[in-house]
Each structure stands twice: as structure tokens, then as C-alpha cells.
Symmetry: C2
Subunit: 381 residues, 2 copies
């Protein structure tokens, strides 16, 4: 039987874009997802419907694929290790996935390898929180479930007085992390291949609306000094090298008010903060992963034009068929790229797509990004 | 039955790239091609295997598609007219295809509409050639079969003495066209939508190797004066407006030694001379056609970075499985985009793919394009 070049565990939008960026190399993809009609399944050569925790489905995907990767962390890392032992190639390695799946292991890894990160303490049960916080001296902190959190779920920003008042949001083991007074939030996409070659993408900055104090869009390049940029790149490279990571990794970073760069967390896959690389950089994060999976040389990560990225999120108060209210206006702006993820229905805050914005310079990028943000609105179809 | 958004007559590389550029809008495509495994068939949602002249297959594609387009001129334009009369939407209109399929009608159209073009005379049989040439006063000329020529086939560059000596290459009706002493060959991709809005892409120049006198690569922007650029744009717009053309058209132009712009010929579809727009321009020719077919506004055709395009052609002297000899080296150059067309085997001069090259300025583009050309070589796999 001739196999598919790449098998993707997960059939979401990250898988969809991975396939899109592999097409000009004629790469064939197989996918596995619990849904029959998932964003990637429409364009994969072969789709298996099955849970990402179902070992029979994972085995089936491995059997028909030359190499496996995953576009989501929520799969059975232990079983992937078994598949690896049977000779299947899995990139990034399941051992890395196991660390990343558990925020306690992730934080301990940083500490063991002298990677700067926010101070933290581990707690098993609600009963342990107060003593742990008092001992560490944290007053403001982020409580994060060790396992299973995503997209803001499983995370709470808290004050020690909440704990004193008995308002503990999670029963399961948690990382309690001292709140970083943060001047910038950055992300660096790191590509590392089997030969140990590393290419970092220029840092991306989460742009905040100073009035609403909300993340509004991602911008590349980040508005940071050369020395911060260099520090961020070194730390991002270091953490992936220490992990002996092969693949694409998003390293999320804080820059604190003292100008120190701290690792927040890592994703072992293409990431929301790298969507803009499709149009904004010579080699996209997705193409880069295809290259790594097929053992081709890494591509240049340089900037073609400054870029920004705005998420297209499901509108409040409705579920069902949807449309971009101002699609016509958006399509008439130069350097605006609408990406829709082929999701059947909208739900509040569901990621339905994103928009990349290119501009020849950063000043006009800001103007254009703000105009695009105002026009980006999902309404019932 | 829910229909596919777009039906493509032809399953070649132009269809493949049309589909690739429609994916981020979640556009569904159906294709028709004589081959079961054609470049576009791998990624179309539904593929019909059938001749492009088989009315039953064309009818079947029309029945399952909201709108039809063609990625090759060699199909049954008369039957497409019938489908149009039955209410199917076909873009560009079959009436335009009929004109373009016949070089005599094409040349007469230019003359009737005062579009500057090389002087010509029509001949039906070999017996007519000498008198026609003597009457027109042509000594050097291009003989072109009225119907069926493509990719250099059906065209001969000749001298009247060849005819005197009885060396007439074609028996069928021909256009004999006075040879233009040409200083540049340009191409302009013109997009025109149902509302009559027009967007021209910046002119592309065929770059010649001054030693071998061969077209080596395409370059955008063309190295021409503003006044030539303006003239070329006006003529290209004029001819598509006179045709009342809706769709994407490549208008190939000569600039003669007097600096006059002449129309050479038109293709009613995305074109080889527009491949570079995928990376080099804000909106690619393929995305632009998707927009036109779905009645969305035209996209901006501005340049992101100067670009060049090199064809990947089958190597001489072999047929069969193939590879790019220097793929590794090519993949390590920033701004080099390899596009492979998923063709099963190489044949001499077969178009197997192309490479787009981006660079921040024209000088470094030239250097990079020359390096890429030297590295672009197809060898047996």
C-alpha cells in the first residue's frame, strides 16, 4: 500500500492550513478527527473519523502515514509513545507532548533548565492553596489547571483575598503563578529540524487597546528594542533546544516591567500567533512544518512586509449559520487576507477564521489593522 | 442537491492553483478532465473523468456547479453556448471563447475595434500563401494555424523565400502576421467583473538571455517607461472592455522598436504570465477569478515585492519519474517558492511546475532569479 506523506492527529483549522501550505509540494495528507466534517477533513486525501484518544484510530492513522504530527495537544501521548516504539515517526516527539500537556511538568522543566519563567507553586487540592500562597508570598496570581485548560479555560486571575474568602475555582491540581507586571506579551515561533538547525520567526506582539485593555490584534514585527528582541530569541531557542524539540513550537513570552523576558508557555504545533506568516513571511509556519516533517531544509523566516492578524470570532448571542457582516468592504482593502475555517456554525467566541493584514510600513499597518478590526463582525447569515 | 460553488472545465495546473487559492474562502470545486488523475483532481471536491468535448460530461459538470469556468481553451464553445441558453452561468462567456479559439476571428476583432496589432492576412489553403504575402508586402512573418495551436505548436517563424521554395508547414487556414521587430514582450493580466469594474495587474516582462536570445524568466514589474506602461494598460483594458469580457484575461503585448504597443493575443483564463501573482501581488490572478466567479469585489493588484517566475520544464532525453536536482539548494534561498503540478511523469519540455522568486528590490531579484535558473533542473528520480 502506498502511504500518505503526512498524517495529522486533529482536523481543525491548524490542520487545514498545514494542508493548504503543503499543496504546492504535492504533499498528501491523512487526518483524524472526532468530527466527520472538520476544517481539515474537506481537503485531506483521507479522513478517519475517531476520537483523538481512541488507540485504534491512532493506530489506523499511523499505519497509513509516513510521519505523524498533531495539530492539538489533546491526544493520548502515552499511546503515541507506544506507536513511536513500534517504529512510527512522530514529530514533535510524544515525550515533549507529555511535558507540555501538564503545566506542572512544563514549569518544572523551565526551572530545571534555568529558563526564566514567572515564579510558581504547585497545589494538589483546594485545601493546599492558602498555605502555598502565603509561603511563596504571592498576592496577585494566575491559577492554572495542570491539565486540560485551553483558550482561556482553566485559567483564573486571582488575588489571595479570593482564597481567604474561599473562592477557589478549581478542584484539580494547579499551578499558581505569581502575576507578572507585564509591559509586553510576545510570541516567537521556533522551527527546529532533525539535524538540530533552528530558525526563529521575528517576535510577534499582542497589541492592546489602551482604553479597553484588551488584546486586539497581533503585530509583526513587535515594537521592542533590539536587545529585548535578541533576549527573546535566545530564550525561545534555548527552551526548544533543551526540550530537544523537532517541529514547530510557539513560545509565548512576557516582558516584565524591568525589561526581563520570561517564558509563559509553549505549544508544540503551529499556533494562532503564527497565522500571519502565511502572507507576512517568506516561509509560513505551516510550510516550515511540512519541510521538517519531510526532512527538507528549513526555509527563511524573514519578513516580506509588516503584518497584523485579527481573529474572526463568533458573535455574541447566537449559534448557527453566519457571515462576515462587512466582507465586501474588507475585500476591497489592499493586503487583507480573509481565512475562513469551514466551520458549519458560529458560537459565541468560536474561532471561525482570521484576517491577515499586510502593509509596506508599520504606521500604515496600524491604520489598516484598526480599520479591519472595526469591520470584522460575525452576524447570522 | 447542494451544488459545488465552482465547476472547472479542465483539470490542469491552472485549475489546481485556482482551487488552492479558493481554499481559504472555503470554496468547493468540481472538475472535469479526460484524465482521472490530473493536477486539479487531487484537490477538487468532485472530479468527473471525461473529454472536454463530451457534451454529456459538460452537462454533468454544469448540473452540479453554481458557475462554470474553463482553465483551457480546448473545449466545445458551441455546446457551452447551449448550456448558457439553458440558464447555466459560464464565465468568461462562450461567445468570447469562440473568438479566442480562432486566431482569424481574434485578429479581425482587433481590427474592427481599432486595437493596435501586427498586420496580418488570412489564408485558407497553401495555394493562397504566396499571393497573399506579395500583396501585403510581408517578407518576414509568423504563420499561425487559426485553430488548435498552443504552447508554440501551430506557429512558425518564416521568410517569404520559404514559401517561394514551397516549404509551407500548415494545410489548414492560417493567419500570416508581419513580424514585429520587438523591443519587449509584455503581458498584462486583466480582471473584469460583472459590474464592469476593471483591475489590471502591473505589466510582466519576458526577460531574455541576451546571449542565447531565449526567454529565461518573467519579471514583474517590467523594466519599461511609465508612458509604455500606461499605454499597455490602456490597450489591455480597452480590448477586454470591447470584448465585454468577464473573468481573468492575459493580454500578451509586443512593444515594437518605435515604442508602439501592439496586442499579440489573449487568453481567457489565468495564465503562465500571472503565476507570480500568488506571492508577488496582494491578490493573485487565481483569487481574483474566484472573486469574480462568486461575485465578490475585485482585489487590489498591487505589488507586495518585485517578483520573477521560472518554469520547471521536463528535462531533455527522458520520460518518467522525476525530481528537482537541486531542490535542497533552492529551498534554502529566501523568497523562493516551488510549485509542483502533481504530474505523474516528466516528458521533454513538459510544464511540471514553476518557481516564484521574491526580492525587496529589482537588482537583488535579478541576481536571485539567475541563481534559481541555474539550479532549476529536472532529472530522473
Amino acid at each position: 500500500m502506498s502511504k500518505y506523506d503526512i498524517g495529522i492527529i486533529g482536523g481543525g483549522q491548524l490542520g487545514k492550513m498545514l494542508i493548504e501550505e503543503g499543496l504546492r509540494y504535492n504533499v498528501s495528507f491523512a487526518t483524524l478527527d472526532a468530527e466527520l466534517n472538520s476544517p481539515a477533513s474537506y481537503i485531506s486525501y483521507h479522513h478517519i473519523q475517531g476520537s483523538l484518544y481512541d488507540t485504534a484510530s491512532l493506530q489506523q492513522l499511523a499505519a497509513i502515514s509516513n510521519v505523524l504530527t498533531y495539530e492539538i495537544e489533546f491526544t493520548d501521548a502515552h499511546y503515541l509513545e507506544q506507536l513511536q516504539q513500534q517504529g512510527h515517526i512522530i514529530i514533535p516527539a510524544p515525550q515533549i507532548l507529555k511535558i507540555i500537556q501538564n503545566k506542572a511538568l512544563q514549569k518544572q522543566f523551565y526551572t530545571q533548565h534555568h529558563i526564566p519563567t514567572a515564579q510558581f507553586v504547585l497545589v494538589n487540592k483546594p485545601h493546599d492553596w492558602l498555605a502555598a500562597l502565603q509561603q511563596s508570598g504571592f498576592t496577585q496570581f494566575a491559577a492554572k489547571l495542570c491539565q486540560g485548560g485551553y483558550d482561556g479555560k482553566g485559567v483564573a486571575l486571582m488575588h489571595i483575598s479570593d482564597v481567604v474568602n474561599g473562592a477557589i475555582p478549581f478542584d484539580e491540581p494547579c499551578v499558581l503563578e505569581q502575576l507578572v507586571q507585564c509591559s509586553k506579551e510576545l510570541s516567537i515561533i521556533v522551527a527546529r529540524n532533525a539535524a538540530g538547525h533552528v530558525q526563529c520567526y521575528p517576535a510577534v506582539e499582542m497589541a492592546f487597546d489602551p482604553i479597553a485593555n484588551l488584546v486586539t490584534y497581533l503585530q509583526c514585527p513587535a515594537d521592542i528594542s533590539e536587545s529585548i528582541a535578541e533576549q527573546a530569541k535566545q530564550i525561545a531557542t534555548q527552551v526548544i533546544e533543551r526540550l530537544n524539540g523537532i517541529g514547530i513550537f510557539a513560545v509565548e513570552l512576557f516582558v516584565n516591567e524591568q525589561g526581563q523576558v520570561l517564558v509563559n508557555e509553549i505549544a508544540p504545533r503551529p499556533h494562532n500567533s503564527g497565522h500571519h506568516t502565511i502572507e507576512g513571511n517568506y516561509t509560513s509556519q505551516y510550510e516550515q512544518l511540512v519541510r521538517i516533517l519531510l526532512n527538507k531544509p528549513l526555509g527563511d523566516t524573514g519578513i516580506v512586509q509588516p503584518s497584523a492578524m485579527v481573529n474572526i470570532l463568533g458573535g455574541q448571542g447566537f449559534t448557527g449559520a453566519y457571515k462576515l457582516k462587512h466582507e465586501k468592504e474588507l475585500l476591497q482593502i489592499a493586503g487583507v487576507y480573509i481565512h475562513l475555517y469551514h466551520k458549519a456554525e458560529s458560537k459565541p467566541n468560536r474561532k471561525l477564521g482570521h484576517i491577515t493584514i499586510l502593509a509596506p510600513d508599520v504606521a500604515s499597518l496600524h491604520t489598516k489593522a484598526k480599520a479591519v478590526m472595526q469591520l470584522t463582525q460575525i452576524v447570522p447569515a
